[in-house]
């Protein structure tokens, strides 16, 4: 690892230059970068530049001090974020074969809860890729006129169901090595990309609103102080007008009344402006939209209730060590499945249906 690259700013810029075709040489506390012509022109730099994060090196050797906020850093970051991290990729399917039907059946019975039903595996597990939509956005919060923040939010959803992956699974997926493009060795389950994106966007909403609220609470005091200052100012003005009115003639009273009216209007406007300036808002800037093929196993099953059988399929995700959640085949919500007499539903959609009798030997 380059010594100079220990500084995140220098590391980023050097990597950026290399990505754009530059050549870099580590000099310990600095890096010598040979820039391609495109970057030389774009940034008005010479072919060879020395960059560092050490002010002493910059001073003694005339290197460029890539301190936070340096235009070179900012512009490169802007360019990279503008391009974004987009496209299809997949994680390599492990070399070992898909687990056997017996193993899958045991796992399904242990991990998948179905009221009044029992899961039977009815076919061979099939190796597939589960499409997962990965969304990353920068959120520009405006907490007050002089307080603006830019934070990142990321979410991953199963693109076949639009359901958010838990952090543990996300961690496991991030640790894997991404291969570019769609996988060819196994089928990728059908993805509903627009719906998955809508789901991901919808999942961000409450998070951002709650963050906005939390940030707003931090500026409550400043807001209150400003409101009080403004209110006190207008109160003093109105008091002064009132005291002058008390000893004024009728004609002057009319004029002072009008002045008081205008002052009140101005006060209301100003107080509104202050409220507005402290109203937290946010704007999204997406920088990542990936569709990741995650190795998975589709297991054809029947959910059995006595003699009745309801065909379904489960998706096992080896890297998560768990089955992907599924929506209810009847109402598409996410609740514990219920094997009813007539159909396979969930606790949500079957709540109003005829009560299910539980009896020994069933489920």
């Amino acid at each position: 690892m380059r010594a100079a690259a220990v500084d995140p700013g220098v590391a980023f810029w050097v990597a950026f230059a290399e990505h754009e075709g530059g050549l870099c040489e580590d000099g310990g506390d600095h890096s010598l970068v040979l820039l391609p012509e495109s970057l030389q022109g774009q940034y008005s730099l010479t072919e060879a530049v020395v960059v560092t994060a050490d002010p002493g090196v910059a001073r003694e050797d005339g290197a460029i001090l890539l301190a936070p906020g340096h235009p070179l850093l900012e512009r490169a970051a802007e360019l990279v974020l503008g391009r974004g991290d987009v496209g299809w990729a997949h994680l390599r399917w492990p070399g070992r074969p898909a687990p056997s039907a017996d193993i899958m059946e045991a796992r399904a019975r242990e991990m998948v809860e179905v009221d009044h039903g029992r899961v039977d595996v009815v076919g061979q597990p099939i190796a597939v890729y589960l499409p997962v939509l990965s969304l990353g956005v920068l959120v520009a919060y405006s907490v007050s006129l002089d307080e603006r923040l830019l934070e990142r939010e990321e979410v991953m959803v199963d693109a076949t169901t639009g359901l958010r992956l838990p952090d543990r699974t996300v961690g496991a997926l991030r640790a894997g090595i991404l291969l570019p493009g769609r996988a060819r060795d196994h089928r990728t389950l059908d993805a509903h990309v627009p719906s998955a994106l809508a789901s991901a966007h919808g999942l961000l909403g409450p998070r951002l609103a709650s963050r906005c609220q939390a940030l707003g609470r931090q500026s409550v005091r400043a807001r209150q102080e400003e409101l009080e200052r403004a209110a006190a100012y207008y109160q003093a003005t109105l008091s002064s007008i009132a005291s002058r009115r008390a000893s004024a003639n009728v004609e002057r009273q009319v004029m002072l009344d009008a002045q008081a009216e205008i002052t009140k209007m101005e006060r209301d406007r100003r107080l509104g402006e202050i409220e507005e300036s402290f109203r937290p808002t946010y704007v999204l800037r997406p920088y990542r939209l990936q569709l990741l093929g995650v190795p998975a196993v589709v297991v054809p099953v029947d959910v059995r209730r006595g003699p009745r059988r309801f065909p379904a399929s489960l998706t096992w995700v080896p890297s998560a060590g768990a089955f992907a959640a599924q929506r209810c085949p009847t109402c598409a919500s996410v609740q514990v499945l219920v094997a009813a007499k007539e159909r396979l539903g969930c606790r949500g959609c079957l709540a109003g249906a005829s009560p299910v009798l539980s009896s020994a030997g069933e489920g």
Partner: protein, 582 residues
């Protein structure tokens, strides 16, 4: 679904209605995905890094931490977070000495800079701390610093906007034109004032400067926010948050101080101070340093050495009577060099045209102190130990190199004139086990030398702050051993007398880190100990008189120390610890 499923189970609605999604922010990326574009694996980490560069999260996250070249303490991070979140960048940092107010201010500055909220930063410090602040900001925070003095006009240069260095000035030069005019003509994003109790008096030059500066964020650093009167505190708080404590008369009426009864409304005052002040006390912070074990070896000089020193002293005294300020500076240097090593003095004497003395100096090839050093180094390094030997003079280092080489002692040399690569090699070699590092003051600025815990002062700076700074190279956070310091002084020299005075009057080596600043700062504004010593030296007809003058100087320091300690106790009584709940 089941509790172990790989999506979180909750009452999620059915698929959202895609028609209701405003795709506009996503359109560009979405279309590329729809076209089947493949992820570029090399580009993903770059995007990740760009997000790090671009993001400006809330102040509950420190974005600058990854760029720091040290590990801040929890109380320092906590202080910086409070200043940024609760105090919105305007605060009095009033930790007890030695707890790292500079670090706390640096964290705030660094954090604001990373977020693009502090392009224009001004730091005002006592003259003696300018270099120390530059070093801290550059080495620890990687923030470029421009030191401006009276004649600098760069402050107002628009070229500085965009990527400007932090402007650092001594309070003494900042409060005088033309620098004052330049500094007050700019709107600063952040102003940091160290030893801010000097700004409390509204009518003093420093106080007027503080009130004329325009700054969005303001940090006042002082371990003694209340020096004498409670009004001191009022003045400092008013700089940070005018009106917080009411008008001066309201404050005085509300918090009247009566002998024997203390301050009225003290609890209420402390509550209000929580909005503008952070103060940690040593007893409540887990910050322990090993002991300093100081020892002085007084070496009896040889007859020739002794005679040469006396002759040089007499010549310096005589010449100083009519010397220009620059000439006096040169004479001071000669006198100090004479105390370091007479042989190293010869070239300087020759340059001054004192050829007779230069000849005598050249005749002394080895000094008794040199011999003592070789013996000492040999014993300290016998069991594989390492030692740093400090000298204030390059010339002396040359002599020491020769002596150690002749004694067969492995050593390396470090001084300010080496190239960066040369310095790097010397430090690395020492780190890798070389027994001795011979060094000037420049050694180890910002470097980790804590693996070594023995040092020798071959000569002694006349400025006690420099003595403290040398010791601070080893006696710092990360040092796990007691630090052994040996001062070598030749009997009868000015250094011998200075050391005796500093030890006797203020227990120099027993002071807590940072206390010496406080003591010297209380003597008088712009007090220069080194110059005071030299003035005493040249004003004295003989050594007895010099001794008496130095004793008086020591009494002044002792008085300053008492004043400081009284003041410290007063801070405890009045403001105690001001923290989140305290």
């Amino acid at each position: 679904m089941g509790t172990q499923a790989c999506v979180e189970v909750r009452d999620e609605p059915a698929w959202p209605d895609v028609g209701q999604l405003d795709l506009a922010p996503y359109r560009g990326l979405f279309e590329r995905l729809e076209r089947g574009e493949a992820v570029e694996p090399a580009f993903s980490p770059l995007v990740e890094a760009a997000v790090g560069i671009w993001a400006r999260p809330g102040f509950d996250t420190f974005v600058s931490l990854s760029r720091l070249r040290f590990e801040p303490f929890a109380h320092q991070l906590q202080a910086a977070e409070r200043v940024l979140r609760r105090m919105r960048g305007r605060a009095i940092l009033a930790d007890e000495v030695g707890l790292g107010k500079t670090i706390e201010a640096g964290l705030v500055a660094s954090e604001l800079r990373h977020r693009g909220l502090a392009d224009r930063v001004l730091i005002l410090v006592p003259a003696g701390l300018v270099e120390q602040w530059r070093e801290e900001m550059e080495r620890k925070f990687g923030l470029a610093v421009l030191i401006v003095r009276g004649s600098d006009s760069a402050v107002g240069d628009p070229a500085l906007i965009g990527q400007p260095p932090i402007v650092l000035a001594s309070l003494a030069s900042a409060r005088r034109d033309p620098l004052r005019r330049a500094l007050t003509g700019v709107t600063w994003d952040l102003v940091i004032a160290d030893e801010a109790h000097r700004l409390k008096a509204p009518r003093s030059a420093s106080g007027r400067l503080a009130r004329a500066l325009r700054a969005r964020h303001l940090l006042l650093l002082t371990a003694t926010p209340v020096e004498n009167r409670l009004d001191d505190l009022f003045q400092l708080v008013s700089l940070i948050s005018p009106g917080l404590l009411g008008t001066p008369s309201e404050f005085r009426n509300h918090h009247r101080e009566r002998p024997g009864e203390g301050v009225a409304g003290l609890d209420e005052l402390r509550v209000r101070l929580r909005d503008v002040m952070v103060r940690h006390r040593r007893s409540q912070v887990d910050l322990l340093l090993p002991r300093r074990l100081a020892q002085t070896i007084r070496v009896e000089p040889g007859r020739e050495e002794s005679e040469l020193y006396a002759a040089v002293s007499a010549r310096v005294r005589a010449e100083a009577q009519s010397a220009s300020p620059a000439g006096a500076l040169a004479l001071r240097s000669v006198q100090r060099l004479a105390g370091s090593s007479p042989p190293a003095l010869a070239p300087t004497l020759a340059k001054l045209g004192w050829t007779d003395l230069a000849g005598r100096a050249l005749g002394i090839t080895r000094t008794e102190k040199c011999r003592a050093l070789v013996d000492l180094v040999r014993s300290q390094t016998a069991g594989g130990g390492q030692v740093i030997v400090f000298s204030g003079f390059r010339q002396t280092l040359g002599l020491l190199e020769q002596s150690l080489a002749e004694a067969g002692i492995d050593h390396l040399t470090y001084h300010g004139s080496l190239s960066r690569a040369g310095k790097e090699l010397a430090i690395r070699g020492f780190e890798e086990g070389c027994a001795v590092l011979l060094s000037t003051e420049a050694a180890g600025e910002g470097r980790n030398l804590q693996f070594c815990h023995q040092m020798i002062n071959f000569d002694l700076p006349w400025n006690p702050m420099q003595i403290e700074q040398r010791l601070g190279r080893l006696h710092r956070i990360g040092q796990h051993h007691d630090v052994s310091l040996v001062n070598l002084v030749t009997k009868g020299t000015v250094e011998d007398r200075i050391l005796a005075v500093l030890e006797a009057k203020i227990n120099l080596f027993e002071l807590v880190i940072g206390e010496l600043d406080m003591i010297l700062g209380r003597v008088e504004d712009e007090f220069d100990f080194e110059r005071a010593v030299f003035d005493a030296h040249v004003a004295s007809a003989h050594d007895g008189e010099l001794q008496a003058r130095l004793e008086s100087l020591g009494d002044v320091l002792a008085q300053a120390r008492s004043g400081y300690r009284e003041s410290r106790d007063r801070q405890d009584a009045l403001v105690g610890e001001i923290g989140e709940g305290g």
